[in-house]
Symmetry: D2
Subunit: 352 residues, 4 copies
């Protein structure tokens, strides 16, 4: 039995190949993929900037239908619609049992699909630790409704959660790509009184307002830190969320955070810079009671249940991130559009 | 009425002068100082590295007896023995009402004595916001017993508290000067299962063991990060506390902290370096779920009551930090010994 | 200088009398009241159920204009518009310095106005600890906009905060009087995915939906616990908020809360019942990991600043609670309507 | 292959019978028991007060050696010494993935051994979810050293943890049976400044002092609440831990807890009383900001690793709880002694 799968073949070489449909081992499930997407991380993989094995299927954001259940997987049946998060913890190691599910087994260990095992830009995908990771989709929600619970919304929201945003806080979010937009939605859900976002791309600025941005600063027109300090009468924000992954935006976050406030870092910083620098005057030389937190996407089926519940009850609308739709056969074109941010793309949907 | 007071006269110039005994205004108290000490910060002031007004009385760690109570100060009477923390919050500003007492009114604003107002290396000192800051000393405790609650113990303990050390955690503390030793005591009080400390000065190594260091690493003999990784089987510590204030020790903290763990920064970093660098591989490029927290000394009379209660009930013995005793007249000699870390000094006690 | 003031004269006897305009002592302010309201607690006072001194001015929810500033009050000037919370902490006692501002000085000690000192159903009111308690009102907000930050909204929101509602939680709120409605708004602000509220009065049911109730159960038509268990597939809610103050509703909260969940109690229970009973099977005989938290209204000017910021940024609209408006001269009629819940009243506004 | 096993045969009927040695299924392990004990809960089971299936093997606190590993169990080998907590979570259900491991799958669901499946008062025991539950024992620790990590120490410590005891708190612990003694040790580990314990049995009073009780009140000689209020100058304790499971001691906890403090309930309350009553005046009629938390024993191998680490590093000595030692053949006698609290028994050790 064959299926189509998007294969990483070496730097800047991806493309469909035929592969055998996977078989579910003990504790595993095989899911027929009905919708997936491309993540910024997939672009890094494609470019050879993040190392995965040549020949591996990439993609880590599957929505689909249960095709096969391995031994020991209980409470599910073939044909049920499920979404699976990029992070698939085992639930049973020391890290998982310390609530560090994303770091299952060690650094970044919760991220398996499309990283250390075959991923989901394919007709079928094998899900490890299926008992802990298959999240059922309510009938009233479409695949598109829940697509972004599989990574970016969980990640963006976690930036607001890890920062412990309080009802009434003033929050800034640097970067309004998909993760940053999700962080904006997260800040709104946490009860921020005022959300100031920063980007310069028109489609993102427009979407930022829809997701909860009260004030959207275009960093090509104003200095965002100066502007935030002006808006907050020199006090700064309670929480600044970094959703770019660059020294400059990290630094801006430290600069605009009030004494006693929190910088929440979601970006993945480039290995070349070796260190991110915390600017000392604004970090109060270490005695300003500021905090820096960093967060990887929380996964597992319970997290997914909660995120899906937010969508079902219309707390957030993520479907509107989809600006482009492709079939699996068009995946190379989808990468081209997404990787180069062409045509006002925010997120793409890929339908096998 | 005159008193003796240690005056900052310009870089590297301090010394006793006669000054009028202060008068208590509304909400203030004047305390006759019976014991005080010299802080690392005072040394920075003396050297001109931290700016205070020339002519100002320095010192911020007073133990004494109430001499005069201003209008509106209630619940105290003349003659009572009190200790006052370096941090004297007003309790009534936006920062204080957000539980950011140390940052009363803004960055570093809780630190008033010897910084923005006259300090306590003198026969008398005026205490602002006396209702919030005079902590009574139980009869059974001596001045020396409580001396270090006024700054270093509160600071060191807060490094353990801000890191949210859990019972059973593995903790490392870099630097076993007075703050680091207090952080070690704090880690012990928080229930750390294993405490690994780092220093190289023999008297500090010895004291570190007394304060709770299970393993004390001499960084001149071993690479502390390698050694910590070896001891923890490659996992790293749950919490690393930085109590030096240098790039290298900060970096070591990030390096030896486990995925999902916390770096607690107590050191004051030198303005010259502009930025402290967070090493990216060990910070997991921003996605290792690591946290960096920083803390200024918590003050106020309730904090003091709790710290004094720990001493009264023999949870910690801070008096043993006193290696040298001087009269106020000998204060220049005391600075010489302490600033140059001569003669195995840990802390000095100054008796006016 | 005389003013009108609503006086408690003994059980069921209240009414306007002339009183001298108060004078601001050290740390105090006198505020000319421009708007106030009647609280459920005021009704208990009127009926003699909660003891206050006969002859005292009642009322504890003032909005007004600064009339006089006492010695030591800084950062304000005569004529500024301010709102003051029912809870006016000193900020300087052991309780305040432990973040227990509502319990300033001891049980219920934060509540001073209309309880232990003269209140604000009058032309003028004296505010204790003015530095900690005068919250400025932005020009763009009317008195009516901010009126309910002075008590009920702070209280209701705190029920959601103390319960530590997480984004994605399912929450029930028992009782949709003014406090319960505010708790519903609070649950929404905290990011609850589904909010199930319980009441039976038509105007409250209607308002409940406006404040965030997704499902409003009429307890005269359905058994709310059964219904909640049905809706949640037998799991129960993550958080149940009690906003009635009766054994039955408290018990219902315990009954419908999931294993590991939290009951948040806002109601004031009647002294006659001596004990509130925690039903054992649903409390899991003590081993279901359930929590019961109780909360008094958080006050102080920083809390007020945050609440006002939520209103300014249109996170919540409290003005719509005002169903009836009276002049101070009509206050007895206002009590009659409000105490007897006539005419679909939710809250009244009193304009001196 | 036969083994001996202690069987529940009906109310007040237990005793050894021969049973087949269990076989490890997928994800399971079989452990040869080298040491176990009797829990208060076992006594309830024996008396027929807590329902288990007649014919079931009882006991839930095993220390032993791995005998057989089922399919999918990784990272272990036959012959390794392990301890297993009474609570054996799956790690993969919605409750586990919400950090409610003790309530795995629903109320009390984490407790399987000797409850819903065969237990460990036997030569061998089958461990479910072995990957999540087998905790290795370091060579330097004996079976007796770690025996009480399997239930009572985890439970008692969790009473201190759930209450969020802060360094410097004053804590009372009602009941100094094995759980209460462990809670006392937990309060000490959390940094309580003063620990006041309550019991009347001489051996417990003596042991209480060893575990951290600064003041031990004999409730047959003094009224413990009055005495605690006297010692705390009328303020009450920050945290009161209930470790008896009776209305009276629960009530005493509420009574002696300060405004804003926490009651931590560990006891299992008798089903007959239907409700536990929260005394209203001392609960401040619901507005004293008091909290009541309840906790079931946290289990799983990571919890066990941490507890064992505390013992290895001599933070706590639990072995001293063993007052009586029996072979498995003597188990009926062991129950007689333990159930009737004869001969100053604290805990028994049973060696198969």
């Amino acid at each position: 039995m064959k299926m189509r799968a998007n294969i990483f073949k070496g730097a800047n070489k991806i493309g469909l190949e035929d592969r055998p449909i996977p078989k579910a081992g003990t504790g595993e499930a095989v899911v027929k993929v009905t919708l997936t997407t491309i993540c910024g991380t997939d672009v890094h993989i494609m470019k050879g900037e993040y190392p995965v094995r040549a020949g591996q299927i990439i993609g880590h954001e599957p929505v689909g239908v249960i095709h096969e259940l391995g031994d020991g997987v209980k409470g599910y049946k073939r044909g049920e619609r499920v979404a699976i998060n990029a992070i698939t913890p085992c639930g049973q190691c020391g890290y998982c049992l310390s609530s560090n599910w994303a770091q299952c087994g060690g650094f970044l260990g919760g991220w398996k699909m499309g990283n250390t095992i075959d991923g989901c830009q394919a007709d079928y995908v094998k899900i490890p630790n299926a008992n802990a990771n298959l999240a059922k989709i309510p009938d009233e929600l479409s695949d598109e409704d829940v697509l972004f619970t599989t990574d970016i919304f969980s990640t963006g929201l976690s930036g607001a959660e890890s920062a412990d945003i309080k009802v009434g806080d003033i929050v800034s979010v640097f970067g309004q790509g998909p993760i940053g937009l999700s962080a904006t939605a997260g800040a709104k859900l946490k009860g921020a009184a005022l959300i100031i976002t920063v980007d310069s791309i028109p489609t993102r600025i427009k979407m930022s307002k829809k997701m909860g941005g009260d004030i959207v600063l275009d960093y090509q027109k104003v200095d965002p830190v100066n502007e935030i300090m002006r808006i907050t009468n020199g006090r700064g924000v309670d929480v600044a969320i970094e959703a770019v992954g660059l020294q400059e935006s990290f630094e801006n976050c430290v600069r605009c955070t009030r004494v006693g406030g929190t910088i929440s870092s979601l970006g993945v910083y480039p290995a070349e810079i070796k260190k991110i620098g915390v600017p000392l005057p604004e970090f109060g030389y270490g005695i300003a009671d500021k905090k820096i937190v960093s967060t990887l996407c929380p996964g597992g089926k319970e997290r997914m249940r909660r995120l899906i519940s937010l969508i079902k009850n219309e707390r957030v609308n993520l479907k509107q991130f989809i600006t482009h739709r492709f079939s699996l056969d068009e995946i190379e074109e989808a990468y081209r559009i997404f990787a180069n941010q062409l045509d006002g793309v925010i997120k793409v949907a890929i339908k096998p």
